[in-house]
Symmetry: D2
Subunit: 282 residues, 4 copies
């Protein structure tokens, strides 16, 4: 089924590197073509084929890390995205599926086609006249320094919705609704809801979040300050300068596809909420 | 077009009664069959045909009051519901369309078919083995006395979602998302989102709200206490006793239809938020 | 040191009754005069001296139950209140000190004076012209039925503070700030802060809570509806009717004294927050 | 009474510069020694004595701008701070007292001693082993880039309070409790409460804010990431690197003194909340 595989791993964690190495060896023995992300060059034993994420064209991708590793992979890989098998080696692994000790068992299942796929809607983001990478989790438009205030006008399909004064404004997908958006006070969107959620960050406004249908075009026009920061999935950052400080969001044609072995959204949600409840152990 | 009309009005407000009287006279002159809600009997001059809401079968209905008047009308009238022209004579008139001084102009437009309709999804609510009235705004399951705690298990299509400890749990439609649900910290749902939102009231849980697709079956199984109160649209109340304390919510086949003269959801939302912002004047 | 003791226990829990019995026997052998709360009459073996809480004049009191048992004890016992040794036999035992298996060890320590006391400020509450019981946790002024709205004017020392529209308004002590007030979105007050906190329940107002100095007089004047419910510590309820719907709160001269064996406010807070985080097990 | 005066103004607003000029001329005629903040050099007509804020030693100071102008003045001027007459020429003027059209009337009152003073507690902040400027509003410890997570251990007088996972942690004075702290979900502290309030920013924790007595020592020990940003009053910024990422806050010996013409905290609060309610006009 799968003939080629890309491997992406956290490079700041000894254990992740070791598992990346073992995974590569395991897959090589199975006869797959392997491409490893360039940043791991010189960090792995053995002779491997390295390439940047932007050029990683394989049948599927294995990520070894946390949500951050997945998000930066999705931001950069060529579209349409191949399915991702996400092995957890991070602090936060909400999007991940497999604990490290089950990595090889999962890979075996994967290779014999014994899995389901979860397709996640993404946001297409235009800032000023510039197309940014699609967002799997969220796009954040925010002041460039803390403790400043941003004034923004929010529209849906060119109709004025609300103005807001806040640190920033975030638009999240259902996938992202359990991440940073949740910390900012946003609702959880069930994965099968066809919608996006806009949430102001640290706002004094009486409204908390607005849930828009996925087919709408949402615009955030920054009235002040003249320079703001746009962050896609915590992985891509760019500054906007007036007068090009309008960010427009629609549903992307691309989606991210996760390899899953069971339906378990709410199981994962409960674990996540419990884990972050008081945070006794970081 | 319309040949018969029902009139419902607040009976605790002199002005509303007066407008009801004038409206009836105006419509009688136009030759319409008029049916007035029974509670106004003996409060209006003239000889009118009175009937209870449960028997009001007319081509359309005029409500004169606030959201409360609309909600109790929708709870009680025979299904399918005729369209409603809502004249504002209440404190909160989020669902209403027409200020009282424009009542006759609006009625004229109405009679010549010069309007659009807004169709609002409703919730079908089953409590234990008992079918409750459909909800236009929200259904609330709550403790029967303040400062008690309710423990509930929330499921979606028989899959366990989360447990929660709170004063109560509320499930709202997009229409209801700007009402009581908003006070409880829920998000605003754009009217075209096909979803419902569940929000715990005064909960210590880390999650705030969950947005479910409209086609799902949401269950709230009350584990404790043994007796809880269920309120539909603030207009219908019933107590549940263990072991029949499970409330199930799906999308209703019925919908409520409002007569509108322009698309203006976000205009109304802005007014509403501004009005309730600080509440200088109630 | 202590010559007489009162015993109060949950009467709806077999285990609590059993422990009450054993405790009474244990203390009787030690030669203390024992008074048991009247509601336990006919539920305990042995011949005991029963009296209502209102007449329980002893050197100290042992409560066997949860926070609810403590709160109803404090509302009713004669003032000034004797110290309370709180043995946990409830779901929520934030105010309690001792797990049931350590009850006799704790009693021994108590009898030989090996303890510290924690003094908790209480609220003096006047509703209309009627003095209500002092509140150890909080006083709540709320609508008499869910899904109604209360309009209230809040003042501090006769100075207008804010108006608010909400389900209700709550004023909590530092002790109460970790209870119902926290669920309503209020801040935790460190036990040594000389302050009270007012929090609207399910409000759309932009403010969440206001922290007032303990020496201030806080008034909540209900403008609408004409009838509201006032609840002290979840244990005492009364209805107010217009025009006597103004509730005034000051610091009480009385305080509640807990017998503690170590300083551990934040230990208890962490346990409580963790426990209620997701609420997997009620 | 006052013989010398310092003038500080926004230099990015024509109107503020003009009023600064007129104010200087007006005060010169009255015979006061005038010192103008250095950043206004070359922007004002006339020959004036300019000096940096750090050297501005005068009997009182007039600020012409918004809260930002006041905050950067208080951060920099020599201690003990002279009283401040704050003329509003900013978007947010919560701390300001006088609208621009009443500037000269206010100055006259000031010069003849016809005013009251409002003394505001400040925070003494130590980051690692470095003393930072005192905070009038708040100190924020936060990640150096948005969408990262900070893990921190919070202590009070060396006792462990709670751990938290958030964008950042903020500690605010009563003065600051109506500013950025309010946006982050913190309570309003009445000006006479002797307390500070700690609020996590965009946290998933179940607690919102903790109110500590003003005499306590609050520590925020950042466990991760290795580099964080500390911001005092939005006006002073510094980065901390592990292992010096512990920030300690106590009450400062310094205070900021405002010249006021009437007691009006809650008047100002109501205006502020109304203004920011929906934010129709930025």
């Amino acid at each position: 089924m799968f003939k080629s595989v890309g491997i992406v791993a956290r490079f700041d964690k000894r254990k992740a590197l070791k598992l990346a190495e073992e995974t590569a060896e395991y897959l090589a023995k199975k006869g797959l073509n392997i491409c490893i992300e360039e940043t791991l060059k010189n960090k792995l034993k053995g002779h491997w084929n390295f390439c940047p994420l932007e050029k990683m064209k394989t049948d599927f991708i294995i990520t070894i890390g946390g949500d951050g590793t997945i998000l930066r992979t999705c931001v950069a890989i060529p579209k349409p995205e191949p399915p991702i098998l996400a092995i957890n080696m991070g602090v936060r692994g909400f999007l991940t599926e497999v604990p490290p000790e089950e990595a090889f068992k999962a890979i075996d299942k994967c290779l014999r086609g014994d899995f389901i796929t979860e397709k996640c809607a993404k946001l297409s983001v235009t800032a000023g006249d510039k197309k940014l990478p699609d967002a799997l989790n969220e796009v954040l438009i925010t002041v460039d320094e803390p403790v400043k205030i941003m004034y923004a006008k929010i529209s849906k399909d060119n109709e004025h919705v609300l103005d807001c004064q806040a640190d920033g404004v975030m638009i999240a997908t259902p996938t992202g609704s359990t991440g940073y958006s949740l910390s900012a006070g946003g609702p959880v969107l069930d994965p099968s809801v066809e919608a996006f959620v806009l949430t102001p960050v640290c706002s004094l406004s009486v409204f908390r979040s607005i849930v828009f249908p996925a087919e709408s075009k949402i615009s955030v026009e920054v009235l002040r300050p003249k320079r703001v920061l746009v962050v896609v999935d915590g992985a891509y950052r760019t500054f906007l300068e007036a007068p090009n400080t309008c960010v427009t969001v629609t549903r992307s044609r691309n989606e991210t596809i996760f390899i899953r072995f069971r339906e378990n959204f709410y199981n994962r949600l409960r674990s996540r909420l419990l884990f972050r409840g008081v945070g006794g152990k970081a």
